[in-house]
């Protein structure tokens, strides 16, 4: 009897499986772009800070300040979509039963996480475009097209380590406690990585531990992209890639165990 039932399993054509991944990503993007509680802070915090400190007050700190702060606030803007869009939303959905329903439905493996990743990439792309527009049209920053392109690509891909970190946090805390925990990571890391004040004016100890934070490495790369870097690239890329892989692996193990 079971053989008949086995044969009778309907076959899912590869094109339909791909379509399922696309639909999942589309639904994730739509639902967050329609959620002002997520979208507005994510877009406004980095751009308003940059407008205030980079554009209006920037020139008081020297001619390179708007450029320097484009990198810092750009990095700051990359962190939120990863940590909140990925981490907090996953933590909440583990609690509300949505993830359980998705696991019961024949959703292709990983479609849910890939969908969230696409959403985070899209939101970061919007943040990057806003920041570049403010810098180029209001901040008087001059960058050749190649540097603009590098900065944009770096920002978009730069969300991945933070999405991975958010994923990891979401496996530790679920439900309403998650936003608080994420903020405890997000704001101190931004400060300790030198996104608000240059590391050079901070105590030596804080400067020494800065390489522990993923945001520090992304910020160094962003400074390089706008032409203020120290030429070191691959160390930072390797650090970010390492963080991403490590967080994803630990999170995947925890999710498999605890659901």
């Amino acid at each position: 009897m079971t053989t008949i039932d086995r044969i009778a399993h309907p076959v899912m054509r590869p094109a339909r499986v791909v379509a399922a991944y696309v639909e999942e990503a589309r639904a994730e993007c739509l639902r967050y772009l329609r959620n002002p509680g997520f979208l507005l802070p994510t877009l406004l915090f980095p751009s308003v800070f940059y407008l205030m400190f980079g554009v209006f007050l920037g020139h008081a700190n020297g001619p390179d300040a708007p450029k320097y702060l484009l990198a810092s606030y750009g990095t700051f803007g990359v962190m939120a979509p990863g940590l909140f869009g990925f981490g907090v939303s996953l933590a909440l959905e583990r609690d509300t039963g949505l993830l359980t329903l998705k696991r019961a439905l024949p959703m292709p493996p990983g479609a849910y996480l890939l969908g969230k990743m696409c959403m985070a990439l899209l939101v970061v792309a919007i943040v990057a475009i806003i920041m570049l527009c403010l810098a180029l049209f209001l901040g008087g920053v001059h960058l050749p097209p190649s540097r603009i392109a590098t900065f944009f690509v770096l920002e978009v891909l730069g969300v991945l380590p933070f999405a991975a970190l958010g994923l990891f946090i979401a496996t530790l805390v679920k439900g309403q406690g998650a936003p608080g925990v994420v903020n405890l990571v997000y704001l101190p890391m931004a400060f300790l990585s030198g996104l608000w004040f240059p590391l050079s004016i901070m105590p030596g100890f804080l400067q020494a531990i800065a390489p522990l934070w993923p945001a520090y490495h992304l910020n160094r790369l962003a400074l390089g992209a706008v032409g203020l870097g120290d030429g070191v690239v691959w160390t930072h890329v390797a650090a970010l890639a390492g963080y991403t892989v490590a967080f994803v692996l630990i999170a995947a193990r925890r999710l498999r165990r605890h659901g």
Binding site: R6, P10, L30, T100, L101
Partner: protein, 303 residues
């Protein structure tokens, strides 16, 4: 029962959460095209049974099969539809978008307009999930459950929060799915729902099936009838009569439970010539259910 028609099975399944035994060697078969209602008090093991059949958890012991395969295999789950009571869906997505997304998981989904028609959500397709009433949300979830043309549908408390009309129309939709040959596993707290829909009722208590059969068979299991009347007789007096199992007094009315209604009615009429508003009812599923779970508790204590 016939092996050829079996599509899902729990066989000797045990599941423990820490020190709590959720399932204690449960056996349950689901056959093609039937509606099985799982009844039982909270914590009896209904949700765990369903969780295992959906592949959400693994059994500690015993076999769990779905269409002859493993429920954790996505190919077997492409033949099921699911409506979970506890799931909160994305509030900012429109019903049409939720349906389209769910349809994309299945190889040959139903036409979305047809699906919306069956579930009664045609006029809600353009509305956001978060803007709907509880009953409308349940209907939308039902639409998502049937969009993949499932052979087996899991409905977890499908009509919670619905008014009577909405409940009746969802029942009609469930009957339509049965008509198309889809089997349904229903968990519900509304016994009249099981009474209205189920081919078979399984009562689960303490992690095992303690009784199963048709609704009529289950009712017959309990021979009690219920007599109601307005009388001046004291509840205590009537309770002392032979064959009277239980007497409840509510606002001048007595509710008497007895296996021999005829004898008790005769005596009632003799004792109180002014007796009025006499009603005699067969025990409903509610009484049967209480009786069965009580019996299994007594057996448990005796053991």
């Amino acid at each position: 029962m016939n092996e050829d028609t079996r599509i899902a099975r729990l066989s000797g399944v045990r599941k423990r959460y820490g020190t709590i035994v959720a399932l204690d060697g449960i056996d349950l078969d689901i056959h093609r095209g039937e509606l099985v209602a799982l009844l039982g008090p909270n914590g009896a093991g209904k949700s765990t049974s369903i969780g295992l059949l959906l592949g959400l958890q693994r059994a500690d012991e015993g076999d769990v099969t779905l269409f002859g395969g493993d429920p954790q295999d996505i190919a077997t789950r492409r033949r099921i539809g699911v409506m979970l009571q506890a799931a909160t869906l994305p509030a900012t997505l429109k019903i049409g978008e939720l349906l389209r997304l769910t349809a994309s998981y299945y190889p040959a989904p139903r036409d979305l307009a047809e699906c919306a028609g069956i579930a009664g959500v045609t006029d809600l397709l353009g509305r956001r999930y978060g803007d709907l009433s509880g009953g409308q949300q349940r209907r939308a979830q039902f639409a998502m459950a049937i969009v993949g043309r499932p052979d087996l549908l899991f409905l977890d408390e499908p009509t919670v929060g619905m008014d009577i009309d909405a409940r009746q129309s969802l029942w009609a939709a469930i009957r339509r799915m049965l008509h198309e040959g889809c089997a349904v596993v229903l968990t519900t707290h509304y016994l009249e729902e099981a009474e209205a829909l189920a081919d078979r009722v399984c009562v689960i208590a303490k992690g095992r099936v303690v009784s199963q059969g048709s609704v009529d068979a289950l009712r017959a299991h309990v021979a009690l009838r219920r007599i109601r009347c307005v009388t001046t007789l004291e509840a205590g007096t009537v309770a002392a009569w032979p064959d009277v199992v239980k007497v409840d007094a509510q606002q001048g009315r007595l509710a008497i439970a007895t296996p021999r209604a005829e004898a008790v009615v005769r005596r009632l009429l003799e004792a109180d010539p002014a007796l009025a508003d006499l009603e005699v009812q067969r025990a409903g599923l509610a009484e049967a259910f209480q009786e069965i779970t009580r019996e299994s508790a007594i057996v448990e204590e005796a053991a």
